[in-house]
């Protein structure tokens, strides 16, 4: 409904400004506006359809509220949470997530750089890191509880370990895959050491590093949820787990949706950072689309 309004508005605006433009060109412009609106609306189609389906199923009584409460109930639970404990717990969860991300991410980044740049460092660390990578992080949870109890350190540790590997791997790979021809040009033009790193190697590795960052953001939430569900007395994972014990399905689903929202916004932020750091990349992508 609201989309239709936007379309007609867009067309009218184009018409108003296009009285002197040939008809074919005008038609093309209208088509262009329409397709752009469509492209912007399309990603929302599936979630909205699912929402309608969900409401229909619960409203008609096909699905019991204890299994799946209606969207309206979930929304009500969401509002209730927002009025009481949600913000404090969301803050706690976010702080855990980002502290772990910063610690694990910077360690992975530094080690990835060193192993990518220096043969000796690679020979010492790389194979051990790959061996450690094959251990599922959740296998560490019992050990982590023994070490840290259920305090903050436990959750931050799990997140840091989970985030470390994708960033390490992509940084290492990024440094290694910088075009040797470009490094050679840098050398011919008088760059060496730090200037070669900052002008050639780091920018060359950056897009791969950003892939690692985005991937690790996914891992970050995953690790946090598991850690909070198993051992916590605050945070969103704690809220949902608590709600499960008192059979509040609506709160559980509300918590899950909040996780989705947090994950999506972290991804958006990382995309934004990517666009800022890699302006030439978005340009290349734009060219391909055209």
């Amino acid at each position: 409904m609201s989309n239709n309004v936007v379309v007609t508005k867009g067309v009218r605006a184009v018409r108003a400004s296009a009285s002197s433009i040939p008809v074919a060109q005008r038609a093309e412009r209208i088509y262009c506006v329409k397709s752009r609106v469509l492209a912007a609306a399309l990603p929302f189609a599936l979630p909205l359809t699912l929402l309608v389906l969900w409401q229909g199923l619960t409203h008609s009584g096909i699905v019991l509220p204890a299994i799946l409460p209606s969207p309206a109930n979930v929304f009500r639970a969401e509002v209730h949470l927002a009025r009481t404990e949600l913000w404090a717990d969301m803050g706690i969860s976010a702080r855990r997530a980002f502290t772990g991300f910063l610690i694990g991410g910077s360690l992975g980044f530094i080690l990835g750089l060193f192993n990518g740049l220096f043969k000796l460092s690679e020979q010492i660390f790389d194979s051990t890191v790959h061996a450690a990578r094959t251990v599922p992080i959740f296998a560490l949870i019992p050990l982590v509880i023994l070490w840290f109890g259920i305090g903050e350190e436990a959750k931050i540790f799990i997140v840091a370990v989970g985030v470390f590997f994708p960033i390490y791997l992509n940084t290492y790979y990024g440094v290694r895959s910088v075009d040797p021809g470009l490094i050679e040009v840098g050398r011919v033009y008088g760059l060496s050491g730090l200037s070669l790193f900052s002008e050639v190697i780091f920018p060359g590795a950056l897009s791969s590093i950003m892939v690692g960052v985005r991937f690790s953001l996914g891992v970050m939430w995953l690790a946090l949820i598991v850690a909070e569900t198993i051992a916590a007395d605050s945070g969103i994972g704690y809220i949902t787990n608590n709600a499960r014990e008192s059979m509040q399905t609506d709160v559980v689903i509300a918590g899950i949706l909040i996780y989705a929202l947090l994950g999506k916004s972290a991804d958006l932020v990382s995309r934004l950072i990517e666009r800022l750091l890699l302006p030439w990349r978005s340009h290349e992508a734009g060219l391909l689309k055209r």
Binding site: D179, G181, V185, G186, V188, Y189, G190, L278, W280, L287
Partner: protein
């Protein structure tokens, strides 16, 4: 501007005297047990334009890399402007077949690579010299192949090098763009009076541009001919064609001999 440059050429070379820009004696280079260059001697006088022709794998790129200081010789001596070569130096700039522009730097920053604080002024002026002053703020990815090579040439010129090494810079361009670039390179050389060593597959290109054409076969220089035709060179000129045919015949014969072995 071209006419002016040609006039200067008629008055005599911009850099006079018999000083050598590059002087190479008994140069050897081997990768493992495979000898690429053996006992190579070459003297290039300052301000001259030398073309190096030969089939792929004859060692011409290796020679260029050694002169640039990107590789070190297995034996022999390379002198640059009278001083023993000790690796990469600021007097030599090199241009490659692929433009090798940094995709994350805009055109002007690519050209200003490795320059000091005045990089922007110098990049702007040298971009004007290659006719791309209006593209300074673009990303390399939006340029055409020919424009990228122009930017690469501008980058090579920005540091005012005394010696310009061109490793088949026009190999990947279409015929018209190639002709355009050849004129540009000639103009730049006439104006600046630097020493140019150009590697090319194309005998016609070599004769059109160079004072001296070298043919390299199996790691040695086997032909060393000067080109005395007046500039601008007319490719339909009888002498031009005769010299071209002679050099081509030489290269073809060499190839046939090698196949018979």
């Amino acid at each position: 501007m071209i006419a002016e440059a040609y006039q200067r050429e008629e008055q005599g070379p911009v850099i006079t005297g018999s000083a050598s820009a590059v002087s190479i004696s008994a140069l050897d280079k081997a990768y493992g047990s495979r000898a690429v260059l053996s006992g190579l001697n070459l003297d290039i006088s300052a301000g001259s334009f030398v073309a190096l022709v030969g089939e792929s794998g004859c060692g011409k790129s290796t020679l260029l890399r050694l002169i640039a200081g990107l590789d070190s010789p297995s034996g022999g001596v390379i002198e640059i402007n009278g001083a023993l070569s000790r690796g990469i130096c600021g007097e030599i700039r090199m241009m490659f077949q692929d433009s090798r522009l940094f995709p994350w730097k805009r055109v002007d920053r690519n050209v200003g690579l490795g320059l000091a604080e005045d990089w922007h002024a110098r990049a702007t002026s040298v971009l004007g010299e290659v006719g791309l002053a209006d593209r300074a703020g673009d990303w390399p990815s939006v340029l055409s192949g020919g424009q990228r090579q122009r930017v690469a040439l501008a980058r090579a010129l920005a540091g005012n090098p005394k010696i310009l090494l061109l490793d088949e810079p026009l190999g990947a361009l279409d015929a018209l763009t190639r002709l355009d670039m050849q004129r540009l390179i000639e103009r730049v050389w006439l104006k600046r009076g630097c020493t140019v060593l150009l590697i090319t597959h194309d005998v016609e290109e070599a004769i059109a541009l160079a004072d001296r054409v070298l043919v390299m076969e199996g790691g040695r220089i086997t032909v060393d001919e000067s080109v005395t035709l007046s500039r601008p060179r007319d490719r339909a000129n009888g002498e031009f064609i005769a010299q071209k045919e002679r050099l081509l015949g030489r290269l073809l014969k060499e190839r046939r001999d090698r196949h018979e072995q």
